[in-house]
């Protein structure tokens, strides 16, 4: 008779699982580990052809990147731009996400499609017209201009993700609150929002990350107030290789940290939103 699980089969299964996990970890982590090593490696080790793993480490690339090339300024700009983007996209996008999650109305699918459609264009071609608009508004070459452009890029994602997260909070709770005397708006702020907060915070972080990562619109829109990626693209790319690695490493740090904080919500965030 067939047994459901014999110890032998279980053991083989375990070994296979471990092997697959090992392969996954190697595949996904190797590039990260290697760039970390290269970011700190001394240039002479890098150019020594028979030295696979460098033995001398230095902070000199960081120093010159930060101070001589003034990356610290760019980092500050990047953070400001990302925060403004995050707030702006939430204030504007959350109501729409709520509408998508809670109402059925004529044109809903059309609006959803319209929002998705904005992702079909290479957003780079917007840069020049945007530059003209910002010059008229008097916000060209400022954190505001970049933030406004980034918000336009992030908005569709924020709307879809927040609607998926709000859909995860059952309408029943909200309706129950309304039966017990809260208004629709009170019910949202007292019941739904607290329940959805962790997920929404995670998507806010994503808005931050997208803005932090964006290079090309930022490059075109600014001259002096460059964000970090734009700055690195313009300076480090014209520098020796080891500067590039240090730059790449610095840009990757927030990504790794933030993903760690939002890892529980990754799946909910992307899950339903893309239906």
């Amino acid at each position: 008779m067939k047994r459901q699980k014999t110890p032998m089969v279980l053991k083989i299964k375990q070994v296979i699982t471990i092997i697959i996990v090992g392969l996954i970890v190697i595949w996904f982590l190797t590039p990260l580990v290697l760039i970390t090593i290269s970011a700190f490696a001394s240039p002479s080790d890098y150019y020594q052809i028979d030295k696979v793993i460098p033995t001398h480490f230095t902070l000199s690339q960081f120093k010159s990147l930060f101070f001589e090339l003034e990356a610290w300024k760019a980092i500050l700009t990047s953070i400001k731009v990302a925060v403004v983007t995050m707030l702006l996209s939430f204030v504007i996008g959350l109501p729409a996400g709520y509408a998508l999650s809670r109402y059925i109305f004529p044109g809903k699918n059309f609006l959803k499609l319209l929002i998705l459609a904005t992702r079909m264009f290479p957003l780079m071609i917007l840069a020049i017209p945007l530059l003209i608009i910002f010059m008229r508004m008097g916000v060209s070459d400022s954190i505001w201009g970049t933030s406004l452009a980034h918000t336009a890029m992030v908005l569709p994602m924020i709307i879809l993700i927040s609607s998926s997260i709000l859909s995860g909070v059952s309408v029943d709770y909200e309706e129950a609150a309304m039966i017990f005397g809260l208004s629709r708006i009170q019910a949202f702020f007292k019941i739904t929002l607290p329940l959805a907060l962790p997920g929404l915070a995670a998507s806010a972080i994503f808005a931050f990350i997208i803005s932090w990562n964006e290079v090309f619109v930022a490059t075109i829109l600014t001259l002096t107030n460059r964000t970090l990626p734009a700055h690195i693209l313009k300076t480090a790319m014209a520098s020796p290789d080891y500067f590039k690695f240090t730059g790449g490493f610095i840009m990757a740090i927030p990504a790794m940290v933030f993903i760690f904080f939002v890892r529980r919500h990754l799946v909910t965030m992307w899950g339903i939103s893309l239906k």
Binding site: M1, K2, R3, Q4, K5
Partner: protein
């Protein structure tokens, strides 16, 4: 389809010391049962008592903590569900959302390589039986709760399983449909003669459908027997109280002997014991506390008794529920309320004192501490 083809043997289902713990929760606690080939057994018990869990252990969806499950002499405890040749109606239906009703019912047959013609025949037969033949092309999202449930039942009965498991398959149907379905399922089972385990918490369903009933409470098997046994000879206060509506009266009493006679006595009621009970009672210790149990339908309003072996007492009507078919009287007594089920044509005003007669043949006595029945 009417008669089961002879080649499929009926199986006996045997559970031996079955336990299923979820951490500290003892969902099923040491249950042993033997179900005869072709028998219809009902699992009955309050919500959360472990009925579903027990069924899932039999189906193999749940891996038992300890104990064994046998189909005939085969130990199937660790056999995966698909190899057990069973079918099941799930409490939450679990009909597949991406298949039409037609496919939901027919797909398991396709898996078992039935011919297309046979599948069609069976699906139509089951759909007609359950009154869902007009819904065959719909998807589950387009069905009401009761309709989904009927699809789940249809899916289970088109198979030719060794064992048929049903978890509250009628819970979501309206009263009329439920009564009809009860009869249909019973008739179907009699025709197919498939060994069936049927879960319900509706005692009327249990009483009318099962060859035998297993009463569960808190994961423990309380009593396993025919509806008659369970109704007339409950083994403990739980079974006695759970079966029957309105609930059995429980009255704390003392045992008193006067000469050759034995009495069960409390303030406001004195019941003499018939000879057949005396043996059992005389051996008991006088120090312990006892509970007299008597069903409301075994207390008669004066003048309506069918027997003269009764104990008379009086009580004031506190409240009368007029159900028209019956009248349920709540009488105020020294020991609390006494519930009496009287005929519906009785005209009694609340506040009036009436005489009632307790049927001496139909009384039960329980040990108060253990709850076990003495008789």
């Amino acid at each position: 389809m009417k008669e089961r083809e002879g080649k499929i043997r009926l199986v006996k289902v045997k559970l031996k010391g079955l336990k299923k713990y979820f951490g500290k929760v003892k969902a099923v606690d040491d249950i042993s049962l033997e179900i005869n080939p072709g028998e219809f057994v009902v699992l009955l018990g309050p919500s959360g008592c472990g009925k579903t869990t027990l069924l899932r252990c039999v189906s193999g969806l749940e891996v038992v903590t300890t104990g064994k499950v046998f189909f005939d002499e085969d130990d199937v405890t660790y056999l995966s569900p698909k190899d057990r040749n069973i079918s099941m109606v799930f409490q939450n239906y679990a009909i597949w959302p991406h298949m039409t009703v037609n496919n939901n019912i027919g797909f398991p047959l396709r898996i078992k390589r039935y011919s297309q013609k046979e599948i069609e025949k069976r699906v139509n037969w089951a759909a007609e039986l359950l009154g869902i033949d007009n819904l065959l092309d719909r998807y589950p999202v387009q069905l009401s709760g009761g309709q989904r449930q009927r699809v789940a039942v249809a899916r289970a009965i088109v198979m030719e399983p060794k064992v048929l498991l049903m978890d509250e398959p009628l819970s979501n149907l309206d009263a009329l449909l439920r009564v009809r379905m009860r009869a249909e399922i019973r008739k179907l089972q009699e025709n197919l003669k498939v060994t069936t385990i049927y879960v319900t918490h509706d005692q009327v369903e249990a009483m009318t459908m099962g060859n035998r009933i297993a009463v569960l409470n808190q994961g423990i098997l309380q009593q396993f027997g025919s509806s008659e046994e369970i109704y007339h000879n409950p083994v403990n206060t739980f079974v006695a109280g759970f079966i029957g509506s309105p609930q059995m009266n429980f009255i704390e009493v003392e045992i008193v002997s006067q000469g050759k006679e034995l009495f069960l006595k409390t303030k406001g009621l004195e019941v003499s014991l018939l000879d057949k009970y005396k043996d059992k009672v005389s051996k008991l210790s006088g120090k312990r506390k006892y509970i007299l149990g008597v069903r409301p339908e075994h207390i008669y309003v004066s003048g309506r008794a069918q027997t003269d072996k009764v104990a008379a007492t009086k009580g004031k009507v506190y409240f009368a529920e007029l159900l028209r078919s019956d009248t349920v009287l709540h009488l105020e007594k020294e020991f609390g309320f006494l519930v009496v089920k009287a005929p519906g044509d009785l005209k009694i005003k609340e506040g009036k004192e009436i005489e009632i007669l307790v049927d001496l043949l139909r009384i039960h006595l329980f040990d108060k501490d253990t709850g076990k029945a003495i008789f």
